[in-house]
Symmetry: C2
Subunit: 794 residues, 2 copies
């Protein structure tokens, strides 16, 4: 990834440890701030649109897994091509609070905007805004609003809106709205697709409540029902009028009053959302109304206090403290916060690649979730990780059907989906990326090993492991000499496709097969209930034991796939700096050359470290660094971890920063479409697995902290085996402390040496430095990462 001339400057969001502050409104950065300042709880997502709705780049209110179907048109189709796509829908917008000052609508681009600040408070879980505005007629008001999406009340969001007259008496009109079918940016040049997504919501019913309204809609093609309700609490210094008007696609509660200078009108707006594919309109209407009643009962202060408490608990067991690099500090917390927002209350729904922050990738979930987001959630919010795996289990029927379509056994999970059906319309970079299934299986295995919670395996993990193992043995084959191959698949690197014996895929598949066999041994009765024949685990182990791992003896490196290191080099002297290669080169060229979009062989080393010697790791990093362009946001974090592992700590620091800053600096120039959750989660991996050296070897926590010069101290919190830990490291010492249980004992491996942490006795060891075997590698011309913050003065 080249970063020339794009993104967000450092001044847009100043470097502050616990908040993302936007000191002024930049009309050219509106789309990015809508994503960066988004609020969500995993069920409801509100983009950081302005209260008054305009100007906007993408208005966005999302309900997890509420989607519309649309046709996938192919000029040349093929068997097994998905014919229906799924696209996240901008549901009924309840964020809207419009303001009129005397006769003038408040708009940031009209009149005089004397001050405008927004703050996303990572500890309070609230987006606060303060405005000082003078109307074209010279009437001045101050506006303070706060917005939250409740972690504790899953179906509730709220806005606390206060307007104060300054200098003159003014007539204030607040119009609080629900609006369905807001006009969206054009999603596609295909008129059928555009038609499907233009006004996707069909009005079902509407009701006026005491201080608000409930609107019911249904998606035209997917037939999903939703209810959006609003209710209000009003505080005014004197008389005010309130009325509510409701139509099919909108509702509006209007409050009118006159404020003298210094007086304030406060309107607290409560929002309740519900959706279902099966329940009745009446049931949904009742659910939304019930949510509103609960929210009103708690009040703004109650909701805000519960929000704070929820986050205090989260940060207590999840925070990462980075001394010496305040930029990385802020951005890693930003990432942790948004990953929590994406998954906290998803509860058996998918976590999309963008969470609920924007319409990018149609709102689809990819392997990103299990591959990059779940490692973090498993250590800091394991209930959310478990929920994702339960979601995967819930779509097993669709995955089995997909495997049948592909002529395979077991289950083939969709490359991209909302509801479970495959929605990828380019099979070489979709269906062929079979590794996804092994990544899901690995997440199942990791959850059990890290949390110590065996129950999930019984509920759903075993079935996922078995069905994915069946997939692998039906797809792979033993050659005439017995070696087991996986042919014609696409690994993580999307600048290669449909290759044979991709090392990442093969190693992960082998791991999948062994994990499934082990799980069947642990749970023979459950396995029998799933119809596992005795010969199946034997076949799985046989395949795993014979897996082919291509290695180039001449170069002394692993081949990303069979034959890869023999391919022609790529000419990196391209003519379009800063833009992904795929925008200017056909797959036909990219696929047959040694150019890599994202870590692939290097990711194999991250997730299957036991398969590589330190010497191989060093040479592989050196080789693949020189041909990797990071046109995917799923690369920098992995490169950071492996650079740290082989001793290139400064380079690792650069990559960690790049992963963490992906959205705060808009490094991929598409933050407006939503945040890059996998990269944000990957930043945590870069710090904790890279600098902290955390690895999973079975259920034993393995650590090997080594810090780059720019980081003077690192403290991170984890949950492992049901207890909370604190790991503290600087350049001399590492200490692991157990924070729960009086008699808990946790084995750890520190720099390869076994130890045991107890509640009474932290383990403390001197840092074991690592001399890199090779000098730091260079990247392709123009593709070096930006330098991280310079080392702090010692």
């Amino acid at each position: 990834m080249r970063t020339e001339g794009i993104g967000i400057g450092d001044a847009v969001f100043p470097v502050e440890p616990w908040q993302i502050r936007e000191p002024a409104l930049d009309p050219d950065r509106l789309g990015q701030s809508e994503s960066v300042l988004a609020l969500a709880n995993g069920h409801i997502g509100l983009r950081g649109n302005l209260d008054e709705g305009e100007p906007h780049v993408i208005p966005g209110t999302y309900l997890n897994s509420y989607y519309e179907q649309r046709p996938l048109p192919y000029p040349e189709g093929g068997y097994g091509y998905p014919e229906q796509g799924q696209t996240v829908v901008n549901v009924t917008d309840g964020k809207l609070i419009r303001l009129m000052v005397d006769d003038e609508p408040f708009h940031v681009a009209h009149g005089t905007l004397r001050a405008h600040e927004r703050v996303l408070d990572l500890r309070a879980g609230v987006l606060r805004r303060s405005v000082d505005w003078e109307s074209p007629a010279g009437r001045r008001v101050r506006i303070r609003s706060s917005r939250l999406v409740s972690f504790t009340h899953r179906t509730v969001a709220a806005v606390d809106y206060e307007v104060e007259a300054v200098g003159h008496e003014v007539r204030i009109t607040v119009q609080s709205g629900l609006v369905a079918n807001e006009k969206q940016p054009q999603a596609s040049s295909d008129p059928r697709v555009a038609a499907a997504l233009d006004r996707p919501l069909v009005a079902v019913s509407r009701d006026t409540e005491q201080h608000g309204a409930v609107l019911l809609h249904r998606t035209r093609a997917s037939g999903l029902l939703m209810a959006a309700g609003m209710d209000h609490a009003i505080e005014a210094p004197g008389d005010y009028d309130e009325e509510t008007d409701v139509r099919g696609d909108w509702a509006r509660t209007t409050v009118v009053t006159v404020l003298r200078p210094g007086e304030r009108l406060r309107v607290t707006k409560f929002l309740g959302y519900a959706w279902s594919s099966s329940r009745s309109p009446q049931a949904l209407r009742d659910q939304a109304a019930g949510a509103l009643t609960g929210a009103r009962y708690a009040g703004w202060d109650g909701l805000a206090a519960a929000q704070r408490e929820y986050l205090d608990d989260f940060w207590d067991a999840a925070d990462v403290e980075i001394d010496g690099d305040p930029v990385l500090q802020q951005s890693v917390r930003f990432g942790l916060f948004h990953v929590l927002q994406a998954g906290a209350r998803a509860e058996r729904r998918a976590i999309g690649a963008k969470g609920l922050t924007g319409p990018g990738y149609d709102g689809h979930a990819f392997w990103d979730t299990e591959g990059f987001v779940l490692p973090l959630l498993t250590y800091v919010a394991p209930h959310a990780a478990a929920d994702v795996l339960r979601w995967r289990h819930s779509i097993l029927d669709q995955a089995r059907q997909r495997a049948r379509t592909l002529g395979l056994e077991g289950a083939a999970f969709p490359w991209r989906t909302i509801h479970g059906e495959e929605c990828s319309a380019y099979w070489p970079a979709g269906t062929a990326a079979l590794h996804l299934n092994a990544v899901i299986a690995r997440a199942v295995e990791r959850y059990r090993e890290v949390t110590g919670d065996d129950a999930l395996e019984g509920d759903c993990g075993l079935e996922i492991l078995v069905e994915t193992a069946r997939l692998w043995v039906s797809h792979g084959h033993h050659d005439a000499t017995g070696v087991w191959h996986v042919d014609g698949v696409t690994g993580p690197d999307e600048y290669s496709a449909v290759a044979d014996d991709n090392v990442f895929t093969n190693l992960m598949a082998a791991r999948n097969l062994r994990a499934a066999a082990d799980a069947c041994t642990r749970r023979p009765e459950a396995a029998a209930r799933l119809g596992v024949r005795p010969d199946e685990p034997r076949a799985w182990r046989a395949a795993a034991g014979a897996v082919h791992v291509p290695y180039d003896e001449r170069l002394g490196v692993h081949e990303q796939s069979a034959g890869f290191t023999r391919y022609a080099p790529w000419d990196f002297a391209g003519e379009h700096p800063g833009e992904p290669l795929m925008l200017h080169a056909p797959y036909f060229q990219l696929y047959r050359r040694q150019v890599i979009k994202q870590a692939d062989l290097v990711l194999a080393m991250h997730w299957c470290p036991e398969e590589f010697t330190p010497e191989q790791a060093a040479r592989n990093v050196d080789y693949y660094e020189r041909i990797t362009v990071r046109d995917s946001s799923l690369s920098a974090c992995t490169q950071s971890v492996l650079c740290a592992e082989v001793g290139h700590l400064e380079l690792a620091h650069d990559y960690a920063s790049e992963a963490a800053l992906v959205d705060l600096r808009d490094l991929h120039a598409n933050t407006r479409d939503g945040l890059h959750l996998a990269s944000l989660a990957g930043a945590w991996s870069a710090v904790v697995e890279g600098f902290g050296g955390l690895r999973e070897r079975g259920s034993v926590l393995t650590l090997a902290p080594r810090l780059p010069g720019g980081i003077t101290g690192l403290r991170f919190r984890l949950r492992h085996s049901g207890v909370r830990l604190l790991v503290e490291a600087d350049h001399e010492t590492v200490r692991v402390t157990l924070r729960d249980g009086t008699d808990a004992r946790l084995p750890v491996v520190l720099y390869g040496e076994e130890a045991e942490v107890t509640a009474d006795a932290p383990v403390e060891r001197p840092v074991v430095p690592l001399e890199p075997l090779l000098p730091p590698p260079v990247q392709p011309p123009g593709y070096a990462p930006q330098r991280a913050a310079p080392p702090a003065a010692s």
Copy 2:
């Protein structure tokens, strides 16, 4: 290709040596007969629709390269994907002659059809029809019509229509029409595509002529102008009325008379067509009117006589006589006739895969033309072969542009096109099939070697050779050991794609490179004018000399592509007998298994015979026969040639029959969309190159006739080095006779022995039998070819 339960029974078109006769109208075979009985001259094509227009399956009137643009929609696009498709247009239909008998319109499904016969006369070049019909009111008529598309008048077609009263006096109304924008079967489920192709013709102007009319139209998006004119000569026994009515989209000349029993009304209809992308409406109107004048001057009898004369000349130097197998005899002549019809007057326009017989494949030209049709045309109608190569030269600019888009040098010809731009919307089976360029280069080389005509190389051949050679060296690369590879390409077999070092591609590319270097040596000044640097031919020869040809030492066979013979086998016990695998299996499965749609490595042996020893050829045939399913019509002919070469003559006979009968028996169940020209031409190759053993080794004609048991004698005619030859063979003797020139001398190689034929002295040799090295191979279960006619009793 499995042939169970599909196709056309033997009785539909009885086995007759010089005609295709349809003794009765079969409503269920209407679409097929529309293609089989199509008439064309390479410029105009008329499907075998009934004169009265209805019933029809696909009404079709085509002008070579007259097309409409349409969007190519991609659900996930990519750089370099073509955005505009091109589709052949059903132009203004001039075939229409409707008849009313008293008040009843003649329709084959109403009243009583006492007799209905159509005959495509392969020597006369005329489609004749005779009908005996009784109206629902009991009025009986006999109709005789003849239709031709003139070989000698390129822009002219004509219908001679005669109706006779039988038994009663009847009022006869003949309505002869021009109709634009006939309703077509839905071309696509995509509404944009359907919209582009629904009523593609916009009326420009209309004119009434003395006995007819001229209509001008323009295509909406591609902006091509066309004129269609009709004129009539009328012979009636008594008074008749004639009037012509004309509107924007239709014109109608009506003739009314009363016939007593035995009296006849004859209406001869002349059609003139013209189209242009650049000329004015007036110029086109004049051209069409001029064509009509010329046609009227010649009259039906003059046109028919010239047609016969043209075909007599053709057959004299092209006929193939096959003793002992009348089915193959008929079908090979049928193929020769249709290939002539496709190319005779194409004159620097493309020859589409279906010729001008139907809308299949959108009317596109593929590698079929140079690969399968040109070998035949080069030997029997070399002027038509030259015209195709001039067409290729005319689209070099588009091919150069395409190469630039792909990041390559030289020219990359389109996988499928009408006008020269790439129209393939699935790049792994389009753009990646780079071999097309070498096939075109081979056709250039073959034309020069076989005809002895050097001029074409100077006009256009050299530039094609140079630009394709540049393409190859920019795409291929030398590895660290100097070996030259061509990676990431798709060979002929479309059940494999984007593979490395496809043997066919590599050998053909090497041949292309050497041919280009040789041509530059022959024409140094012309090469210099094309900017060929001295180092370029050196680089071409170096690449060709170092080309990699994957060979599996363990199995003793060539690998179709690197690694192919290591792939898993295909499970041929499929559930959909008779249907192509690709309709029931995803590419994802097909590509990574040892299953072959069409001859690929076997085709390499056909076209590059010098690269394989007889032992390798025998083993390769044996290996690849067992995994080839012939889901493409481009396979049986090649398998026939190679089976003959390695001594499996009976199997070769079966495959030759399959290739030849592809449309007369509708073996691929899609003859209704148009004929399979490559397979029809391939049938000639199967007989002449297979049983005749004809091969090209430089410019020396090489023959080695060996006949299967079912063929007692074979005589074929060729043009070579400017003279006509006759080759006659039976099971004992082969004789080669020179038919031109008193002092002509032609070297030939017969069974590997050099000889010389002169006008005075035919060469006669005993047949040299060949003992096959291996027993005949078996095909995958269900995929054996149907047996050819049984051996004639001796």
